[in-house]
Symmetry: C2
């Protein structure tokens, strides 16, 4: 079942929020709420442990929003240091996570899908638990009307080439530089 | 009446989202929802006609959120071309808008205040309906615990110097470059 969207010329965009600055996940979160405001159906997949469950947990309980679905895939698979599970187990979990992500996205049920921190999961871990080719397949084969937002620093050039809209969030100034600790409500 | 916040060392940050790329207002919107998720009290002031009322209109009606307040100040004062009202009238409206913004912010009632597109209102209109010195006064005199987010391109250097966190949203790629029109749910 799909939600109502305009029948007027609608092209699902692939949007990338990358760079080292703050605001990537926040922007995707803002877009998600904007989309919900338009009556769209939204799927958010988190590839790293994030703070969103806190937000969405409260909002979900307050609103019981029927058009927002959140999946935490590969839960914990980044915290490999100090984690007793063998790497192979993580690889299998990540593989299963991407399979589920594809299934959900290709179902055509969603107007907007956010893959939060997926760029980071592909690149920066050096473990390549999330494969670049899987991400490319998602971009190329997603339903035409579905908007896709990919966040995370160090987006691969192949992803940038395929995207319609790319913003680099560039860090100009950060309070950590002055020793200010992470702030509740702002950073998490 | 203020909402509950951590009593642990809490410093209200001044955050600037600037640059020519997409995601500034979206990031502030995401931060606002994150803050609401933490039980904070949030004030959003829009200095340009935006799309937020659409989103918040629905959310507000769905949730009747008691901790979110939205003000559209200087309504219409940017659309000066083709607008029959004399400039002086707009100046008075903008002046009154900033007075109200200060009153609200200095009241100490809010954990997070977003001044959406205020950088643009200060700089790019060349009419300086919103005065830089008023914005500087807000940053300097806001309650210590209140977080402040200022969005809009071309943030003045004085504002960047005073801010704790500055991200430049840099446009790497935009669909308008390929002739794709603005997309509902993404751009507005």
């Amino acid at each position: 079942m799909t939600s109502e969207i305009d029948s007027t010329a609608h092209k699902g965009l692939t949007i990338v929020y990358t760079g080292d600055g703050k605001g990537k996940t926040s922007a995707a979160l803002g877009n998600a709420f904007r989309a919900l405001g338009h009556g769209w159906k939204v799927l958010i997949i988190q590839f790293l442990k994030g703070d969103w469950p806190v937000v969405f947990g409260e909002l979900a309980s307050a609103k019981q929003h029927p058009r927002l679905e959140i999946l935490q895939l590969g839960k914990g698979f980044v915290k490999i240091m100090g984690d007793p599970k063998p790497l192979e187990e993580h690889r299998l979990a990540a593989c299963e996570a991407m399979r589920l992500a594809k299934e959900k996205i290709f179902s055509g049920d969603y107007d907007l899908v956010v893959l939060d921190e997926v760029n980071y999961a592909v690149d920066a871990l050096n473990l390549r638990l999330v494969k670049l080719k899987d991400l490319i397949e998602i971009i190329k084969k997603k339903p035409a009307r579905t908007h896709l937002i990919l966040t995370g620093r160090n987006a691969k050039q192949e992803i940038i080439d395929l995207a319609d809209l790319v913003t680099e969030m560039k860090e100009i100034k950060h309070p950590y530089q002055k020793g200010v600790p992470a702030q509740k409500g702002i950073d998490y």
